[in-house]
């Protein structure tokens, strides 16, 4: 593709260099109609085993969201940003990744973290308040959940780039990994989102960005967040491929993400996927969603509940009967009971841990401060136990 006029008027010829790759935008632009699979012929291509697994994960995921929300009401979790209504995205994000891949979640993606194998109680640690993170990021290849929006997108790019660097330097240890960065619609407004996508485009890093567009950033609707045709259209500004998908259609999300991951893994560059979905609950248990959205809107989206939509499909194609549904429901109850039991057994955190990991080795200054706290706690303990000094 040429970006300059072919005119050959002397002295007015095309600029000597085009200043860059100047690639063809056409293949980058998303189809503005979100990809759907449910209700189309494409649904038939899915393996029944995968369908059953997706179903199980969706049902368990919904139950997980419910249980975590209940625990906030009991005061056992300080705050929980439920992904209720977004389970199709959560489950698909976890399932399309291979073991060597990395997941970079937002604070709302506890469910994706659990679906990738982290123990529920460990995935909920940040929200419980016992520690800032409850799992080993290297065991599961999941970055810690954290709240500074969009910042994790750059980490995903750096990690994916590093893996390529290592593969080039030492092909024997090469891992064909892909990093999947999750982002909310609101977070796409942050400078960090832009910088991450730009680095990804320039470096050709194997990253997939999944924007879960649930229509709101807390109370702020998308129309106040962006005037873009779709968020997926942002991809073209970074020379990367944009895709738009119905985020409540688990098969569509699975397909689009699988293709995106394959694209990135093959070294064909990053992909930006926008999934249109909806959060059925408030922003967190501390939020009052009635202040900013009409009940009718929620009801309309409840009619497109991703779990219900998928169950209806499975029943339509004869892959779900009452017996299977009951079995999955029982598994979900077991999960919930298991979470409750884990909460009962969880030990209180150790104050000494406050000083241990600020640096690889505590500084003299921190050792002093740790000793101060330890002495204070010993004194308190004496007081409590009625012991005398």
């Amino acid at each position: 593709m040429t970006i300059v006029d072919d005119s050959t008027t002397p002295g007015l010829a095309e600029p000597p260099t085009g200043h860059g790759p100047r690639r063809d935008p056409a293949p980058l632009l998303p189809d503005p109609r979100p990809v759907r699979v449910l209700g189309t012929d494409a649904a038939a291509a899915f393996d029944p085993g995968l369908l059953h697994e997706l179903h199980r994960q969706l049902v368990l995921g919904r139950r997980f969201n419910q249980q975590a929300t209940t625990l906030t009401r009991q005061g056992r979790i300080a705050v929980y940003p439920a992904s209720t209504g977004q389970e199709a995205c959560q489950v698909a994000a976890a399932m399309v990744l291979s073991s060597q891949d990395w997941l970079f979640p937002t604070y709302r993606d506890t469910l994706a973290v659990v679906a990738r194998g982290v123990r529920p109680i460990d995935a909920l640690t940040l929200m419980r308040g016992h520690a800032h993170s409850g799992y080993d990021p290297y065991t599961h290849r999941i970055a810690p959940l954290a709240t500074p929006l969009a910042t994790q997108a750059a980490h995903a790019v750096g990690l994916a780039h590093a893996a390529r660097l290592r593969a080039a330097a030492d092909p024997a240890s090469a891992e064909d990994l892909v990093a999947l960065a999750l982002v909310g619609d609101g977070a796409t407004s942050e400078g960090d989102f832009h910088e991450a996508l730009n680095f990804a485009g320039v470096l050709g890093a194997p990253v997939v960005f999944l924007v879960q567009n649930n229509g709101y950033a807390i109370s702020v609707p998308l129309a106040r967040q962006s005037a873009a045709p779709t968020l997926a259209h942002k991809a073209v500004g970074y020379g990367i491929v944009g895709r738009l998908v119905d985020g409540n259609d688990v098969l569509a999300v699975h397909r689009v993400l699988s293709e995106a991951v394959a694209h990135a893994r093959a070294g064909r560059g990053p992909v930006l996927v926008e999934a249109i979905t909806y959060r059925l609950e408030a922003h967190t248990n501390a939020d009052d969603a009635s202040r900013y959205r009409p009940a009718g809107e929620v009801d309309a989206w409840r009619a497109r509940d991703p779990v219900t939509l998928f169950e209806r499909h499975l029943r339509d194609v004869g892959l779900l009967d009452d017996a299977r549904a009951d079995a999955v429901a029982r598994a979900a109850e077991e999960l919930a009971a298991h979470i409750r039991a884990q909460f009962d057994a969880a030990p209180a955190p150790d104050p000494g841990s406050l000083f241990e990991h600020v640096y690889a080795q505590p500084t003299a200054q921190l050792r002093e401060q740790a000793a101060d706290l330890a002495a204070r706690l010993a004194l308190e303990a004496d007081g409590t136990d009625g012991g005398a000094a």
Partner: protein, 345 residues
Amino acid sequence: MSATTTRRTTGPTTSGTTMVAALNAALRDAMAADPAVHVLGEDVGSLGGVFRVTDGLSAQFGERRCLDTPLAEAGILGTAIGMAMYGLRPVVEMQFDAFAYPAFEQLVSHVAKMRNRTGGRMGLPITIRVPYGGGVGGVEHHSDSSEAYYAHTPGLHVVTPATVADAYGLLRAAIASDDPVVFLEPKRLYWSTEPDPIAEAGATGAGEVAPIGQAVVRRAGTSATLLTYGPSLPVCLDAARAAEDEGLDLAVVDLRSLVPFDDETVCAAVRATGRAVVVHEASGFGGVGAEIAARVSERCFHHLAAPVLRVTGYDIPYPPPMLEKHHLPSVDRVLDAVARLQWEA
């Protein structure tokens, strides 16, 4: 309008008012008084802010005056700069302390420097409201005490109320100021109503504009002086009450304004007792307490019977909710420091 005028307004006057309500009233009164005042930030509109400080403002003044912005703090502050260039008085809300960091460059490189850059021709009367500090069970990144970053940046005023009346009075003064003000709101005190009446000289009354740059003696005392601000004021007042049992009469100074710093009030209070403890939540190393201790030591050296001590958060990232009580200055830690003020010497 001068930042130091004291005048009656429609502000909160009932004793049961919370700090959130006082801040809300200050915004409402300022917007009513001056059409140049505009509020902008994340979720400040229909939601009224995650802490409800801007509750009802968009309904009363319209969405133009109280704007829900896209989610981008540098963009918010950069936009506010442009608005101030055109003569408006933007009041920016940063949703939480740690989420003001993306705007750090706009704050340090422009907000703080524009008046100086232009030889006084272009001032930026922006108020940047930052809910700060811990003690509310917030997850990581929701409890930072970031005042030292701002106080070290010439060109900014840095103000933090500790009482309901000051929340109203200082916010009115900040918005009226022709200079940019970083207005730090102690989250921990958001839902507190005014504590038991405090005997104090020069304190702001309800519904009055409080002067920026003046510390206030919240409690007179003769034994030693506690220097504090924002969320640590109630801790110091409690410590002073507890110290009475040990026969110690502690003075408590509420700084209110970190920049400009009120050397006069602080030094007078320290000279009167010869002993001082600085108390704040932020990590101690390089905290505002270091500046206070250094300048008090420098200016009151021969009046000091003991070194100025500091009771602060430890030099660690802010802890998770279950452990934050260990990090925060407590009555016990304050009293321990007071006990170490070399009473025998």
